[in-house]
């Protein structure tokens, strides 16, 4: 019967906490960057100008259809060669996941905006609203409410995807777990604890996301 011993794990909890912090930093960075990129890509995709639409289409399809790990390796190992720049793990990871989540967000945005029935557009035009007003006052508030579940889901996915950065030596939680497992020769306890940390934190985020969803579902639009 195996003797579980969590003491070595808890002794190094500082390392794990630092890793967790880095995970959160990376997630937050990629999330905020991704939202901006996503919006830009979405509008480019919806635009009438081909020179905007086609590149946007390309970026979105490429980043949605290729594995994130391949993207990460390309940015970390490949890009520095072309651009002759130094790429830290954080930069590569931040860049990769900002664009990748941006691509997914762009799709969610586009789907949300397109899902608003034509009648809304027509009614707004009929009272003389211009395009920007229409988007800002009528379309986006309704669209955001619809997109919210998918957005939350994508954000939670992002938190899980960040574990990939351990492979390029970014000191996130998983990277620390690998180090710790090797150091203490107790991979069972280390990985179990780390899995639980991810499970608890992601479950909490999911739970709050569900609560938020319910609250917004009650009102007719996205308002706090």
């Amino acid at each position: 019967m195996y003797e579980w011993n969590f003491a070595p794990v808890f002794a190094e909890s500082g390392l794990l906490l630092a890793g967790f912090r880095n995970t959160l930093i990376l997630t937050a960075t990629a999330l905020s960057g991704g939202l901006v990129v996503g919006l830009l890509l979405a509008f480019a995709r919806l635009s009438h100008r081909r020179w905007l639409r086609l590149p946007a289409d390309l970026v979105i399809e490429v980043f949605r259809t290729t594995p994130p790990l391949v993207q990460l390796f390309w940015f970390y190992f490949g890009l520095p060669i072309v651009l002759s720049v130094e790429m830290t793990p954080f930069m590569a990871a931040g860049l990769t996941f900002t664009i990748q989540s941006g691509a997914f967000f762009a799709e969610i945005f586009r789907a949300g905006i397109v899902s608003i029935e034509k009648g809304q557009w027509e009614a707004a035009r009929a009272i003389g609203m211009g395009h920007n007003q229409l988007m800002r006052r009528i379309i986006l508030p309704q669209a955001v409410k619809r997109m919210f579940p998918s957005m939350m889901e994508r954000s939670i996915e992002l938190m899980k995807t960040t574990t990939l950065v351990a492979t390029v030596s970014y000191a996130d939680l998983l990277f620390q777990a690998n180090e710790l497992a090797q150091k203490t020769f107790r991979p069972l306890e280390v990985y179990t604890v780390v899995a639980l940390i991810y499970f608890v934190s992601i479950s909490c985020v999911s739970f709050f996301a569900a609560r938020l969803e319910k609250r917004f579902a009650r009102t007719g639009e996205f308002s706090v």
């Binding site: 290729t66 998983l174 991979p187």
Partner: protein, 221 residues
């Protein structure tokens, strides 16, 4: 940019990449079948009469959806052999991690599909004397599956992309071979571009087909 792209060194090693692709396809096929079959069972388990079965199914889904796949793969590779007297190869670890994760996602997809079938269908089937299982098999699942094919296809695409994670435990799939070629030829940029392109070539047609499928289903429903 004044960089000289050198794809020749990649194509010279096409055989290594082909071996990798074979490993990718093998892993994908196993995880797809295992993941979705198990997913269906778990979805049915969430509707079982017995509370322990329901609880276990829900716990399974919650756990495997809320932990990262990579953590699961590493746990199966490094931690499980300590707990149980078994050899876990990279292939096994990847299968366990990816299949169980996919099962959890698939279970939710199946559950959504089943719940979308209106109660009248259940009643009509029960009214002619069908058992719950017969109703599922003959009436509900055939209709539910039709509705969730786009979601299941998306899941399949995700599984295909997930196979790259097996490279972390050195399973011989496409990315792992890419790493190998890159380290030997010092051409990571070209190698990873080719690897990405291969995934695009394989997956993009399927993704496009799904768009068409979604539109057709929306029209016929």
């Amino acid at each position: 940019m004044n960089y000289n792209w050198d794809f020749a060194s990649v194509f010279d090693n096409w055989w290594a990449l082909a071996v990798g692709l074979q490993g990718t396809l093998r892993l994908f096929a196993v995880c797809l079948i295992l993941g979705m079959s198990l997913g269906l069972l778990v979805a049915l388990g969430r509707r079982a009469h017995a509370k322990p079965v329901r609880w276990a199914s829900t716990a399974f889904v919650e756990f495997f959806r809320n932990t990262p796949v990579l953590v699961q793969i590493l746990w199966f590779y490094y931690a499980l052999p300590i707990l149980l007297p078994v050899e876990i190869s990279p292939f096994m670890a990847a299968i366990l991690g990816i299949s169980l994760n996919s099962a959890a996602y698939s279970a939710e997809i199946f559950r959504g599909g089943i719940q979308s079938i209106e109660p009248g269908q259940w009643e009509a089937a029960r009214a002619i004397g069908m058992s719950g299982l017969q109703t599922m098999r003959r009436v509900v699942l055939p209709q539910a599956v039709r509705r969730i094919i786009p979601s299941l296809t998306n899941r399949g695409v995700e599984i295909f992309k997930m196979t790259t994670l097996a490279s972390v435990v050195a399973y011989v799939e496409l990315l792992q071979q890419g790493k190998l070629v890159a380290s030997l030829n010092f051409n990571p940029l070209e190698v990873y571009t080719v690897v990405a392109a291969l995934f695009l070539i394989i997956l993009y047609p399927i993704v496009r087909a799904t768009y068409g499928l979604e539109r057709r289903l929306a029209r016929s429903d």
